[in-house]
């Protein structure tokens, strides 16, 4: 990581705080109108998708209904749920958009997400051993994990994780790897598991039992469409999230580096540990503006639709301090993510030969 002394870090903190303060003092009607418009879009797409789905025996209708429902879930999870739970709209004082009570349309409970994502991931971003989002304790993505033969198959794990992403996220807090290492017992996780089964059951009931059943004669069509919509959402959100921290130049950190760190150092870590991708307005909306992952990590509780507006200022701050600003097209960023997953599945020597950009310097 780029090293900066405390004076420089203080300066960085001040520069970024200035950007934050400008947005905070300007929050108001415009932001409220934006999020309410998105909520209306979500409601319309979900209702439209659900109403059309029983007519899915006509192939183009099936396609339209599945896409509408899939996109509605994407928007609800990414632009509404994720962002609302970060407290981006708490200032509106609207109980329907409140970070601590919001419950989203996915298996993971809001409470579990607030603990594992808002607190653990956003506080300890990319600190190996503390940020369990780095590889989800499932994938080897850096040299901090020693290579084992089992890693050879991790690409299959990655595909499975993407396909069943909502279930993977839902089970994240189980910390199965720590149970496996006997650091914690399953017994400690019983309250979590109860919540998991309640919420997971609710989601499965809705999409795979209730809506197919009430449309009985066409139940298989509705079931297939609902599975399709969940699949679309799972693949897309997994892909967007992987582009946020696992691209080629996104850095990782050690616990020692970050012990007793200042706010400025926290900012530096967020800037260098995250990566953006470019795209049109719709790409940003459907990614919940996580395409501006750098801005999101620096200011997780600013309304996400503001990230495009402050991006230039953040880039200017990075330039001033000589900090790399990691961005590129979606295709470029995602291809480096795939290379990383593949590269680290190989023994280090083989990786050095095949993918020199992910070279391990400790090995010849």
């Amino acid at each position: 990581m780029k090293t900066m002394n405390e004076t420089q870090l203080k300066e960085l903190e001040k520069d970024l705080d200035t950007i934050r303060d400008q947005v905070i003092s300007d929050l108001g009607e415009r932001d409220a109108r934006y999020i309410r418009k998105i909520v209306r879009l979500h409601r319309s797409l979900e209702i439209g998708g659900r109403v059309l789905m029983p007519f899915g025996f006509i192939p183009p209708v099936f396609l339209a209904a599945t896409t509408a429902l899939g996109i509605s879930k994407i928007i609800e999870n990414m632009e509404i749920g994720h962002n609302v739970m970060h407290g981006q709209y708490d200032w509106m004082n609207d109980p329907s958009l409140h970070s601590q009570t919001y419950e989203w349309d996915t298996v993971c409970t809001g409470d579990s997400w607030r603990r594992t994502h808002n607190y653990e991931h956003h506080t300890y971003t990319n600190i190996i051993g503390k940020d369990r989002d780095y590889g989800y304790a499932l994938l080897r993505l850096s040299d901090d994990d020693k290579w084992k033969p089992a890693h050879t198959l991790q690409f299959i794990n990655y595909i499975l994780l993407s396909v069943f992403f909502q279930w993977g996220v839902g089970l994240h807090e189980l910390e199965s790897e720590r149970i496996h290492r006997r650091e914690i017992s399953v017994r400690e996780k019983i309250p979590f598991l109860k919540d998991f089964f309640r919420k997971g059951g609710r989601q499965a009931f809705k999409d795979y039992v209730f809506f197919p059943l009430i449309t009985f004669p066409v139940a298989p069509v509705v079931l297939a469409g609902n599975i399709g919509a969940n699949l679309i959402r799972n693949l897309w959100s997994s892909t967007v999230i992987f582009c946020g921290h696992f691209t080629q130049d996104a850095e990782t950190f050690t616990e020692e580096e970050c012990e007793g760190e200042s706010k400025g150092h926290w900012y530096l870590r967020q800037l260098t540990g995250s990566s953006n991708f470019t795209g049109g307005k719709w790409v940003h909306l459907l990614s919940g503006h996580l395409s501006y992952q750098v801005e999101h990590h620096v200011f997780p509780d600013l309304p996400a639709h503001r990230y495009p507006e402050i991006s230039e200022k953040v880039q200017a701050v990075c330039k001033k301090h000589g900090i790399p600003y990691n961005t590129g097209t979606f295709a470029k960023q995602y291809s480096t993510v795939l290379k990383r997953i593949f590269g680290y599945s190989l023994p280090d020597r083989m990786r050095n030969r095949l993918l020199p950009e992910f070279r391990n310097r400790a090995v010849g």
């Binding site: 929050l27 209306r40 409601r43 509106m92 004082n93 329907s96 601590q100 349309d105 209730f210």
Partner: protein
């Protein structure tokens, strides 16, 4: 139609499964609001029917609440919810009309004075128009008409007249025979709220005596005194009702107490005074943790999270630096200063981050 999601327990359960929220009927609100804001389920909507000027700085807002609003007793207050620049603001006001009017034509009134620097009152005066829809909570408060009838004395100041108006109208309409006296203190005669209504009451209701005192119209200014009370016949036997600025309430309480009128016969209702400008000296204050029913005091720039933990509570928290919102919590009343921005919050109910909120005066939070 959507209200079945609230009324039928089975459908309510189903709605919770389908929409992931405890108030499933409100799932459709964002769309319904566009069609007709009176169809919203999350809060009880009320349409502004008319707005009248009472004095130069006081207006009466006539509201028609949705049919599911449960009604009120004379003298009670309500919370209203208004979106000002994207922020939902909740404030408490007394209803100034009588329940008889609500039963007759479905309307209630709020009589509201501009507070200097008051965000909501000024917004209502400047921007609220007939036809708009605002949120209206259920009525609450135990400032009630004596039942059974007994002699009563009202001491009101300024816009503190509002719950008294509601009570007087109700008493007059219900043939209240026991003597009722109102001592109404205003700055100048031009500040008398609902003057016509008060004089009409005095002329048609024999048991009622109206006395208006304009404090600043005389030299020296005349405030509530022993003499005013001496002129109220049979004062010792009267039930007393106070509503007005703090100075008047304190004075009245004191004078009545000295006359040997028991505390149980003196009823006061709140009166929202403008908050003073905040300075760094004003940090700290009495903190009330509602759910735990715990009162503690704080000094200096201690944040609510630390204060709660020092009181052996364990609120949910995360980063402790204002980032993750794990510790966000409802504040029901009082003002807090955001340690990061130095900004003061509003006085009403809203969500705050405990880890960066410093009390400024008495604060009550849901913990």
């Amino acid at each position: 139609m959507i209200s079945v999601l609230e009324k039928s327990p089975t459908l309510h359960w189903l709605g919770r499964q389908l929409f992931n929220r405890d108030d499933p009927a409100a799932f459709f609100d964002p769309l319904l609001e566009r069609i007709n804001p009176m169809w919203v389920r999350q809060y009880t909507p009320a349409r502004v029917k008319a707005i009248y000027n009472e004095t130069a700085d006081t207006k009466t807002f006539v509201l028609a609440p949705a049919g599911r609003w449960k009604g009120f007793a004379a003298g009670q207050h309500v919370n209203i919810g208004i979106d000002v620049d994207g922020v939902r603001r909740n404030r408490t006001f007394s209803l100034s009309s009588s329940p008889i009017q609500w039963r007759a034509d479905g309307t209630v009134t709020l009589t509201i004075k501009r507070l200097p620097g008051g965000l909501v009152t000024n917004w209502m005066h400047d921007h609220l128009e007939p036809g708009a829809v605002i949120g209206l909570g259920e009525a609450f408060g135990d400032f009630r008409i004596p039942d059974p009838q007994e002699p009563a004395l009202y001491i009101a100041g300024g816009s503190g007249i509002t719950p008294v108006l509601s009570q007087l109208e109700t008493m007059a309409a219900s043939d209240y025979r026991a003597p009722v006296t109102l001592l109404y203190f205003v700055r100048t005669q031009a500040d008398v709220i609902a003057a016509e209504k008060l004089h009409a009451l005095a002329s048609r209701w024999p048991a009622f005596t109206l006395k208006v005192f304009a404090t600043s119209d005389t030299h020296p200014p005349q405030f509530l005194s022993e003499q005013h009370l001496d002129e109220v016949p049979g004062i010792a036997a009267r039930r007393c009702y106070l509503c007005g600025p703090k100075g008047l309430m304190d004075l009245a309480n004191d004078l009545l107490y000295r006359r040997g009128i028991g505390e149980d016969r003196i009823h006061s209702t709140f009166f929202s005074a403008p908050t003073a400008n905040l300075d760094t000296e004003s940090l700290g204050g009495a903190v009330h943790f509602q759910r735990s029913n715990l009162d503690v005091s704080s000094e200096g720039d201690a944040v609510l999270l630390d204060i709660a933990e020092a009181a052996k509570l364990s609120p949910r928290y995360g980063c402790r630096m204002g980032i993750c919102h794990q510790c966000s919590c409802r504040k029901t009343s009082g003002t807090v200063i955001n340690r990061l921005t130095g900004k003061a919050s509003g006085p009403g109910e809203e969500t705050i981050q405990l880890c960066v909120s410093v009390p400024s005066g008495p604060v009550s939070v849901e913990l």
